[in-house]
Amino acid sequence: MNDTSDANHPVIRVKDVRKVFGVVQALSGISFELNKGDFLTIFGPNGAGKTTLIKILAGLTRPTGGVATVSGYDVAEGDPGLRRELGVIAHASCLYANLCALENLVFYANMYGLENPREKAVQAIEEVGLRERMHDSIRTFSRGMQQRISIARAVIHDPSILFLDEPFTGLDPHGSNVLKEHLHSLHTHERTILMTTHDLPCGLEMSDKIAVQVRGRFALFENIDKLDKHRFEEQYFQIINDSD
């Protein structure tokens, strides 16, 4: 089922989602909603459950409790329709190291059932500015280049929802800037983005909403225009210290 989204029908609806791995409570009850075109950045220390939350919303793992719907699909049901709407960029590139950039993207274009997969792949590579390297093996790419091809992979099927799990990890300042430019271009009124990052200035610069996740729950969830950006870093570390 896929509802048409507007302000009354959030694109992402998470209600009291919990996740337990054995004895470890990764998520302790997270609830929030995002509308179409929103850009939410989730900050939090390592082990806060940010990646677990993204994996649940992307359908890679099921919640232990609670309900989450993305674009009208219940994430626990594993509907392929949901995966058509999603693009995910993680710190792993999801690229086959022994294939070239073009072969990787042709592969994913075929898996998404796109028409003219080779044309779409070439176009996606051109959009991230790596046309001259499209026949080179991914193994020869720098971390920054791999992330750019990973972006191309994640958006080749024009998804309406993007999840980015610490996409700046391992990037040098130039690579981070290039990635930020791409993300700015991807953030449109038609595309909803959820990003996790440790980079406070970057997250504040790009987002409409921010959250601070600590020990598996949101300690803060706020619209960016209600936040004092100059004091946010202080506020963030205060939240982390209070949770300890």
Binding site: L60, T61, A92, C94, Y96, L99, E103, N110, M111, G113
Partner: protein, 226 residues
């Protein structure tokens, strides 16, 4: 349905292209199988023991041990760079992922076996050519059974730290009925018996092939989920 088969074909294409570039799977499987055959040729006195009696067991040991190497490596390539997650994030049905990997593994094993058979024939001085047709049928049935449950278990063990040990531990007990059947059939074929006289063993092998594929279809969803 057309999209389903297209996804299977795409996964097989990707594995074949990767293997053509690296030759990693084939070379490791072939060298290992050859080593097994060479070791046994020096440890068995063929003037005392008939090649037809010991040969089938040796051949299938070579195939299965080498095949285990290939199965282990198959899903390891998907785990590299988080590619398995990338695959699961596509709209592909998880059984399509299973069948794509199964067909790839089957192709690589059959190619390795095609190279090993002539060498086995030479080293053990066994006439395979006069029984080639039925022998290939038996090899296909046995390899299919091995690959069908092996692909499922390699996807399971790829998540474990002790994956190289766990796959054989999980796989070999399950594959025993198929191994017994194909070794028996191979031995009897080499003595000149027709395949039609072994329909019990053929039926057993095919039944297990179907069971393994059926179980894999039912289980792959849960195994690929974190």
């Amino acid at each position: 349905m057309r999209q389903y088969f297209h996804q299977i074909k795409t996964i097989v294409w990707k594995d074949l292209v990767t293997e053509l570039k690296t030759r990693e799977l084939f070379s490791s499987m072939f060298i290992f199988a050859l080593l097994v055959i060479v070791i046994f040729i020096f440890s068995v006195d063929l003037s005392i023991v008939k090649a037809n009696e010991v040969g089938p067991g040796i051949l299938w040991v070579a195939f299965l041990f080498a095949g285990t190497l290939g199965l282990n490596r198959s899903f390891m390539l998907e785990k590299e760079n988080g590619c398995l997650d990338g695959l699961i994030l596509t709209p592909a049905d998880r059984t399509a992922i299973y069948f794509g990997k199964l067909i790839s593994n089957l192709i690589f094993l059959l190619i390795m076996e095609a190279f090993i058979l002539p060498l086995f024939m030479i080293f053990f001085n066994v006439d395979l050519l006069s029984h080639l047709g039925p022998l290939l049928v038996v090899i296909l049935m046995g390899t299919l059974g091995f690959c069908s449950i092996g692909t499922l278990l390699s996807s399971l063990s790829s998540n474990l730290k002790t994956r190289e040990i766990m796959l054989p531990i999980l796989l070999y007990p399950l594959i025993v009925p198929v191994v017994i059947a194909v070794v028996r059939m191979t031995g009897r074929l080499l003595t000149g018996e027709p395949l039609a006289a072994m329909m019990n063993w053929v039926g057993l092998t095919l039944a297990f092939d179907v069971i393994f594929i059926g179980v894999s279809i039912m289980a792959i969803d849960h195994i690929l989920e974190e």
